[in-house]
Symmetry: C2
Subunit: 149 residues, 2 copies
């Protein structure tokens, strides 16, 4: 299972820390940037991450910004992505069990490094429960929204 | 400013509590359902809420489900919506300041009623900071995603 990771400048250090830790744990990790801590726009990296998951290049994504809010909004623009913004492992587990989340978002300025690792570990270790949740997840792939720009 | 609120069954009671509290506080609130605590699918109510904000019927949304994850994913399918899943007021404030969030999501099984009210209060009281954040928010309205289904 290939993991792609992306961030903005506010989460540049957390991205490096999680990337190196995941590789030490034996995972294959694609770092989608940024490659420097210079200021960037989180949607650029959120869309890049979403496209890489949607086309099958990676199976799981980790999306980081200062609060986790902006980058998770951008990832969830893609109907094939289910990005869960979390700050503790229970939500990370529920995101997999109930929502079949394929991307995890964390706010680097709000969640500490060890807590972030605990979230990622729960996210990677948990299977989707399917059952009654499958129909709801299917509806996330087929947005019933009007006035789409 | 009109506020629309929607949930799934897991957040039916929190929806009623927040709706009544907001009305007591003098806000105009549209309850988009569900109207009973019977099991429903969160995306149905998330899309309903997104469409009502996008068409200008309401200016702010409150989206509730068990974890807040599923309904926030569905709301964020709409490029005109910026839905912030939060569990404490700092994130609710940042969501307005940095992301111009027009919808707040809360997990009824994870966040207590008083904390939920504190999040909603921070969300409603905070203005968007614009400046460097404007360009990023604009990019959320124009998703650069491929293979859109």
């Amino acid at each position: 299972m290939r993991i792609a990771i992306a961030s903005d400048h506010a989460a540049f250090e957390l991205k490096a820390e999680l990337r190196d830790w995941l590789m030490e744990e034996g995972h294959e990790v694609a770092d989608l940037g940024p490659d420097t801590p210079d200021s960037v726009d989180y949607p650029d990296f959120g869309y890049r991450l979403a496209n890489v998951i949607a086309d099958g290049t990676a199976q799981r994504g980790i999306a980081l910004c200062g609060s986790g809010l902006g980058i998770s909004m951008s990832v969830n623009r893609h109907p094939a992505l289910r990005c869960a913004l979390v700050s503790e492992p229970l939500s990370a587990r529920l995101a997999r069990e109930h929502n079949d989340a394929n991307c995890l978002a964390i706010g680097a300025r709000l969640t500490g490094t060890d807590m972030a690792k605990a979230c990622v570990a729960a996210f990677l270790a948990t299977e989707f429960a399917a059952g009654r949740h499958q129909r709801r997840v299917d509806k996330l792939s087929d947005p019933q929204i009007e006035d789409r720009s």
